[in-house]
Amino acid sequence: MTVHFVHLLDELQRRSLRMASAVEDMVQEACEAVAHTNHELARRIIARDTDIDAEEVAVEGEALRLMTLFQPMGADMRQLCAILKVNNDLERIADCAVNMAERARHLDADAPADVRNELTAIFPAVRRMLHEAVRAYAGNDQTLAERVLTEDEVIDTFYGEFIRNIAALAHQSPERMHALLDYLSIAKNLERIADHASNVAEDVIYLTTGQIVRHQGK
């Protein structure tokens, strides 16, 4: 029975990681759709959300089934708890990517380039943070997870400055308000993605150490 359980748990972990890869792809494509005002790409991202939602439900169902049938303990229980929590964050990250894609469909080619350039400059940092969080999750890498947590501050600082710039621009050029609000929404979703990546990193630390590190030092 133990061998059977270990097999099922590993298969569920792989399924969760496949979902993480798909969500990473969605975020990458959402960034491209914004950077290049690619409406077709944005439409495809929005269409993928249904798959992610279905997968989230399937992973959660399987995790709950394993908990009920096998009543795991120790590292196995931590693993299932981490899968459940990461599963929720991945689905929320996919929602953020969809929100970005929806904003990208509003943008037109002559949207203010200066604001777009400022926004796209933060894309690599957000994508790297998410990628490292998923890598830490895949490899039970506590060190990498702790590094991810330090990166969230960079994104938060950017977001704070971006809001101030948008407010100043809105005051100077109220006719650009629609585009500025779209960019502000995109920035907000990027900041949320970074927060969810931090959550994943915290779950990895719980998975590896048994310590709950949420809400510390804030």
């Binding site: 097999h7 972990q13 990681l17 496949r18 890869s21 303990m73 895949a138 490899g139 048994g210």
Partner: protein
């Protein structure tokens, strides 16, 4: 369905961890967590072992176990068959005395006694340290006489009716038997008989109750009642429980000791043992990788 995406390596693959691990050369000493450390004189340990070894002839059933069991908490001892947990439990009130070839080295203190000291009165020790066994073993007498018997033998001079009622109430059995106190105890169900045995032990006003797999012969409903009872008993008594059922240990105990092949591998708060044990052997046992 997720397709066409990057595959991450599972560096934490468990398939290689199922093999039986080697016994460490150096014993892991119990590291009681902060909530298990005595905070005052009232919380001083009631049972302490110091490098305790118990032999049956040349066979060391328990090897250099060192632990401190705090009062009014439930301590569970878990481990695979033959690991020495019942031997250790039975040493606490000298139930092993009549096993040929049994001998003890190291220290074992229980309440005020050096348990195997030459001046220790084993009968008085067993009155203060009661035992509940795997299979219910009521005397073939009435419920009333089962509870009152020990007190009578020990010259109890109080109100026996009151003692019987109080003991049965503490054992959560009174409401079920109050109208048939003088009927044979053998007519009770297995779960009721086990609670009667607990009431019989309580009637001697012990400080410590030892329980050797008290639910292994009971159905799930009766098991649930005994577990609720154990939780209630710790308000007055120190309970030390040997169980094969890890979920039961996780549910009812405050502290858990894991033994393997005679050695005390890890002793810590139950929450720690079952969520984040420090020792790899404990981890492998609670996740079913061996044992």
């Amino acid at each position: 369905m997720m397709t066409d995406v990057q595959e991450y390596d599972l560096s934490n693959d468990r398939s290689g961890t199922i093999a039986r691990p080697a016994i460490p050369a150096v014993q892991v000493r119990p590291a009681a967590s902060s909530d298990a450390v005595p905070q005052s004189a009232d919380d001083a340990p009631v049972i302490t072992t110091d490098a305790l070894s118990i032999y049956y002839g040349k066979f060391a059933a328990v090897q250099e176990a060192t632990m401190a069991i705090p009062p009014r908490q439930v301590t569970a001892i878990i481990g695979p068959s033959g690991c020495g947990k019942s031997t250790l439990l039975r040493a606490f009130n000298r139930m092993n005395d009549f096993i040929p070839g049994m001998r003890v080295t190291g220290g074992l203190r229980c309440l005020d006694w050096e348990v195997y000291g030459s001046k220790t009165d084993a009968v008085e020790l067993r009155r203060r340290v009661g035992m509940v066994f795997q299979k219910p073993n009521p005397f073939p007498k009435s419920t009333y006489k089962n509870v009152a018997w020990g007190a009578r033998v020990n010259g109890y001079r109080g109100d026996l009716d009151e003692l019987v009622e109080r003991s049965l109430r503490q054992a959560a059995l009174w409401d079920e038997v109050k109208d048939k106190l003088h009927a044979s105890s053998l007519a009770l169900s297995g779960g009721q008989q086990q609670r009667l045995c607990i009431a019989r032990a309580i009637a001697l006003q012990p400080d410590i109750l030892l329980m050797d797999e008290p639910c292994s012969a009971l159905d799930p409903i009766a098991t649930s009642k005994i577990e609720d009872l154990i939780d209630a008993l710790k308000e007055r008594y120190t309970v030390v429980l040997v169980t094969h059922n890890m979920q039961q240990a996780a549910r009812v105990s405050d502290l858990t000791a894991f033994m393997y092949m005679g050695r005390l591998i890890e002793f810590d708060a139950t929450n720690t043992i079952f969520t984040s044990p420090h020792n790899r052997q404990t981890q492998d046992y609670i996740t079913g990788r061996f044992g």
